[in-house]
Each structure stands twice: as C-alpha cells, then as structure tokens.
C-alpha cells in the first residue's frame, strides 16, 4: 500500500517544502519593495523634517502615523543624504547599546522597558511642542532621569549620538505598522 511506502512520504515532503519556499520568495520580493525607505509603508529618512502624529483612520479602522508640515529637530533641515547618514548612526547607537535587550521595537525585544515604536510622540515628551520635544529626549538619553518604577541606566550616550537616536525614533514613528500599538496616546487612554 502506498501509505506504507517511505518514498511516497518523501515526495510529499519535498513537494510541500519547494512550493512554500517559492511562495515565500515571491512574497519577500513584494514586501521588501514596500518596506524600503520611500516605499508604500516606510517613509524616506528626510521625514524627520516633518511633523509626525498618530491618528485614527476611519477607512482602515486603526491608528496610523500621519505626516504633517515642516517641524525641524535641533533647528536643522536635513537633506536626504544627511538624514540617511544620521539614521544609520542612530541605528548603530541603538545596536551598540543593545537597546533592544530592554526595550522593544514594533513589539520585538526585551520587554523590560517601554516599546519605542511611537516613543517620539509619547505624551511623556509632549509637555513641549515639536522642537523642544527633541531636546528633552536628547537630554534624557545623555542623562537618564528616573521615570516611574523602572530606572534607565546611563549608557554613556554622547550628545551627537543622542541626536542621532532622536532622529531615528522620529523616523521610526512614521512607519505604518498596521495599527500597532493600538490607541497609542488616544484620548481616554492612560
């Protein structure tokens, strides 16, 4: 009987795996196209020159980042190349200090400290409008104060490194992450 034939099951396994790999490859090509900077879902790095907010989108039924008019950080308008260099530096700071082993990005990471996906627009920094928010964040990174029950260590982040991280967090907050996190900073939320 064919079900007792090992080769029958082997052929089934090979066919299944090959089919799934082909589908994954096709989806990967499309996904990478959409999540490249400047693609359909990930704004280009010079978005750091614009206001970014998080609003409920009735057509999609979820919260989405909205890109507004000009809102500079650290009093500087970055060209596309400058922004790209600054974002690369911000990512290197984030990796060198292993931020992801305490915090989470898009929910991935250490679970020991707040998620950083929308940290740029967090109400905790919103006491000041746009330009001052960047300054407050940079100061916090270079000299972390105790916020609530979970103190952040001083990771010896230099001023220039902190500015790169702030730029990175602003760009990160502009990525369309399908409504994650839900109701972030919404009226009535904590």
């Amino acid at each position: 009987m064919y079900t007792q034939d090992v080769y029958f099951w082997r052929a089934g396994a090979i066919a299944t795996v090959v089919f799934m790999c082909v589908v994954l490859a096709a989806l990967t090509i499309d996904t990478l196209r959409q999540i490249s900077p400047g693609g359909a879902r990930v704004p280009s790095y010079d978005v750091i020159n614009s206001a970014v907010t998080y609003q409920y989108d009735t057509s999609r039924g979820e919260y989405l980042p909205k890109i507004g008019g000009e809102e500079l950080i650290f009093g500087h308008r970055y060209t596309e190349d400058e922004a790209s260099t600054l974002i690369a530096k911000g990512k290197l700071v984030i990796q060198s200090r292993a931020c992801i082993d305490c915090h989470t990005f898009f929910g991935n990471g250490g679970y020991y400290a707040p998620d950083l996906t929308r940290a740029w627009m967090d109400p905790v920094w919103a006491i000041s409008p746009g330009p001052k928010r960047a300054e407050r964040l940079a100061k916090f990174l270079t000299n972390p104060l105790r916020l609530g029950a979970r103190p952040m260590p001083n990771l010896k982040i230099r001023r220039d490194e902190a500015e790169a991280v702030v730029a990175y967090l602003k760009w990160l907050s502009s990525v369309d992450s399908n409504g994650f996190p839900d109701r972030f900073g919404a009226p009535g939320a904590n």
Binding site: T31, G148, P153, E161, A189, N190
Partner: protein
C-alpha cells in the same frame, strides 16, 4: 567507541555547563523585575538577558551537534569523516563562547562604531555575539555540515534520517549568515532577523530535533526505521508546510504589508498540527509500553519533549498567534511565557533525553534508574510550568491594562509594572525559577555521579553473586 561519539559526549557536557550558566543569568534577570534599580549602571538588565538568551541558543545548538555526533557513526557504522578538524573546532568554539561571555559581562557595550560590532556586542536580540564570534559559529556549523555530508558520501549510503538531516543543515548554516548585517531600516532589519530566528526555531530546528528524536526512538524503544522515517517525512511536510509561511505571524506589526495578517494567521494556526501528531504517537507508545523502558530517564524526557513541544510551542503559540489577539499580546510577558515553554518543551527536554541515552550507551547500556533523575525531572518541569504560568498571568494583565486600556504609552507601561497582579506574577516567576535551578543542580549531580553509582552497583552485585 568512535572518536565522533567521544566528541559528541564532550559537546553534550559543554552544553550542560552552558545550560547551567544560562539558568544563573535567567535567575539574575528575574530579580530586576522585583527589585527595580538592582545593579543599575553596574550590571544592567540587558546584560543579564543577553547572556541568558545567547546561552540558550548555544546550549541547545551544542546539544544538537553533540547528539548528532553521537548517533551518526552508529548510523553508518564507521568513523565520521573530518573528525580531527571537528575536534579542534570544538575547543575553538568553547574558548570563543568563554571569551564572548567574559566580554558581555565585563565590557558590556561600546561606542557606536564598527569596533563594537566586531568585538563587543552587535545588539540584535539572540545574535548579540560580536561578528568575530559569529564567524567562529558559522565555521563550526559549516564543518559540522561537512562532517555529516562527507560521512554519508564515504559510506555510500543515505538513510531517511540522514537525508532529512543533510537537507536541513544547508538552510541551518545559510540562515545563520543573517547574524551579520547592520541594516538601518528597522522594518527590513526585523524582516531578515525573523528569517533567522523563526526559520531556525520554528522550522530548521524542529526538523533537526525531529531527526534526533527519530534516532532516539530507534535506540531507546527499538522503533521500526520504516515507521520512524515515514513519520519524519510527514513531520517535515507539516512543520515546513506550516512553518515557512507561519513566518508571517512575525510580520503583522513591523511595517510589512497587510496580507501577512491572513497568511501568518492561517499558517501559524496550523503549526500545532505536527506537534499534535507527535503527542498522539507519544501517548500511544507510552501506553503500549506501560511507561516502562530500559532507560527510564531518557524515555521520560522523550515524553516530556512531546508534551512540552505541543503545549509550549503549539498551544501557547496558538493562543497568541491570531492578529486580533497578537495586537495586544505581542511584546508583553505573554510572549516571554510562550518563549520559555516552547524552547524548553521542543528542545531542552530533547537534549536531556539524548544526554541520558548517550551516557547509558557509553557505559554498556547499564540501567540509570534512581531517585535523583526523578527529582530533577519533577523540579525542572514543575519549575518551568510555574514560570510560564506566572509569565502568562503577567502578560495577560499587560495585554488588557497596558495595551488595550492604557494605549501602550510609556506611562501605561510603567504604571503597569507597579500593578499587584504583575508584581505577584514576577515574584512567582522568581520562585519557580529557583525551583528550576534546583532541578538543574540535581540533574548535574545525577549525571556526574552515574559512573560512581554504577561502580558501587557492580561491586554489590559481585558481592551478592559471591555470597550465593
């Protein structure tokens, strides 16, 4: 005994030592939750976590490699090709692991430059090891794959288990190359990072442990090769058939398109199927043998692997895999609960099973029964179930109060950490973690004293025989 088997025992011993180290750093990491500010600026939570999770990857990987070096020469009835090189690399790998752990502990982090990436910490979860160490791991994995393939070629024979193993080793080695990139775009970085983490853990590692458990069942209970190999192919079809596109459940929120909701949700909901098949078989086998086998520790750990894989990987994963639930559960202690249970059930129990099997075989299949293994079995499993239960309660609390009600802001997160249910869960996790650590201590005692106990048994038997 073949040289490869001696090397396999060394790998299994080293993996047990690293298992112990990762438990110590896991316990340390759990203290930060109940004592905020613990060792602040001296030894931060992130460092304890890095050693804990990298220790996890290395102890399991070394356990798998040790198991395969143990079984492979028996499969082909010949020495493994290139064993000399593999022996050298074992010591290189051990030295590298020691240096990396020392750097993590004493240097911790560096400035934002390439030096830090190459020599201190790459800062990507699970693959924090600096690039030079990642190269050592890649070379070791490459030589290991060469050992298996070249031995198969030299023996002019390819059994079903070895065919699957070879097909699995190729993606295992290739996917690890994803440990090196430094991509600015977090969406793309996480997209590729999940290829490594998910396609290792929920695909290639599942197949690898499937091969190891296939050999274990043949050696432990004399299972028929035809039946085991047929099941292995079915498992490959189901694990990879659901697991490859099950990758999509990690692509809900990282900036990737919405079609991953349907693809990831559907295929990851099917991921428990192969694990369910395993458990049905395990229950059938256990019942047929009335829970008896010559090597009871190995047999019980094999059963624990089937149950743990199904519960930790299957049920716990299914609970939070649909996007409508995952929106709130993702990135909370709920995820940590699933991670602990799944790694333990799917892989940890399997490695311990092989450990007992290899020790028994290396000592002429003497019986390993006694009280110590039962205590360690009970404490390790109850400790793990307790930890995952506590983390689940904390995670559900977070999903409701911090995520759904609080809106995931910093304030919502920080006030959540002070809630009684959350804190009580963290204390419970620490206490069950201590139980787990005690279970490991008894396991280590049992493994270390087996030769001494067997000598004493032999003397007793000889005395009794002389007396009669």
């Amino acid at each position: 005994m073949y040289r490869a088997q001696r090397l396999g025992l060394k790998y299994l011993a080293a993996s047990t030592v690293i298992f112990g180290a990762m438990i110590i750093f896991g316990l340390l990491a759990s203290i930060y939750y109940v004592r905020p500010g613990f060792l602040l600026n001296t030894f931060n939570f992130s460092t304890a976590k890095i050693v804990h999770i990298n220790g996890l990857v290395i102890w399991l990987l070394m356990g798998f490699i040790g198991a395969i070096y143990w079984f492979l020469p028996q499969e082909f009835e010949r020495e493994v090709v290139g064993i000399g090189l593999a022996e050298v690399l074992f010591w290189v790998l051990c030295a590298s692991v020691a240096v990396v752990i020392a750097v993590f502990i004493f240097v911790q982090y560096g400035a934002a430059n390439e030096w830090s990436m190459w020599f201190i910490n790459q800062g990507r979860k699970y693959v924090e090891a600096p690039r030079w160490a990642a190269i050592v791991i890649s070379v070791t994995a490459g030589v290991f794959a060469y050992n298996v393939i070249a031995t198969c070629v030299a023996a002019r024979k390819a059994t079903g288990v070895v065919t699957v193993l070879i097909a699995d080793l190729v993606p295992l080695v290739v996917l690890y190359l994803d440990a090196f990139p430094e991509i600015s775009n977090m969406s793309q970085d996480l997209f590729w990072w999940w290829w490594l983490v998910h396609l290792w853990v929920e695909a290639t590692w599942e197949v690898l442990i499937g091969c190891i458990m296939a050999w274990t069942l043949m050696h432990l209970v004399g299972a028929s090769r035809r039946v085991v190999e047929s099941w292995l192919y079915v498992e490959v079809a189901l694990v990879l058939g659901t697991g490859i596109l099950g990758l999509g459940h990690h692509y809900f929120w990282i900036g990737t398109p919405r079609y991953w909701f349907a693809i990831g949700g559907f295929f990851s909901a099917l991921e428990p199927l192969p694990l369910l098949g395993m458990i049905v078989h395990a229950v059938y086998d256990a019942g047929e043998r009335h829970l008896q086998a010559a090597n009871r520790p190995a047999f019980y750990w094999t059963l624990a692997e089937a149950f743990g894989n199904f519960l930790g990987g299957g049920v716990w994963g299914f609970m939070m895999t649909l996007p409508q639930i995952n929106l709130y559960s993702h990135g909370t202690q709920w995820t940590a609960s699933h991670g602990h249970f799944a790694f333990w059930g799917a892989y940890g129990c399997g490695v311990i099973s092989v450990l007992y099997l290899a020790i028994a075989q290396s000592r002429g299949n003497q019986r390993l029964d006694g009280a110590a293994w039962k205590w360690s079995f009970a404490m390790l499993n109850v400790g793990m179930v307790g930890m995952t239960g506590a983390l689940l309660v904390a995670g559900i609390d977070q999903a409701f109060y911090e995520r759904a009600i609080g809106g995931s802001t910093w304030n919502a997160y920080l006030s959540m950490q002070g809630r009684p249910w959350f804190n009580e869960s963290m204390w419970a996790r620490l206490l069950f973690g201590l139980m787990f650590a005690c279970g490991f201590a008894v396991l280590a005692y049992d493994l270390i004293t087996i030769p001494k106990r067997q000598q004493a048994d032999a003397v007793e038997e000889a005395t009794a025989a002389a007396g009669s």
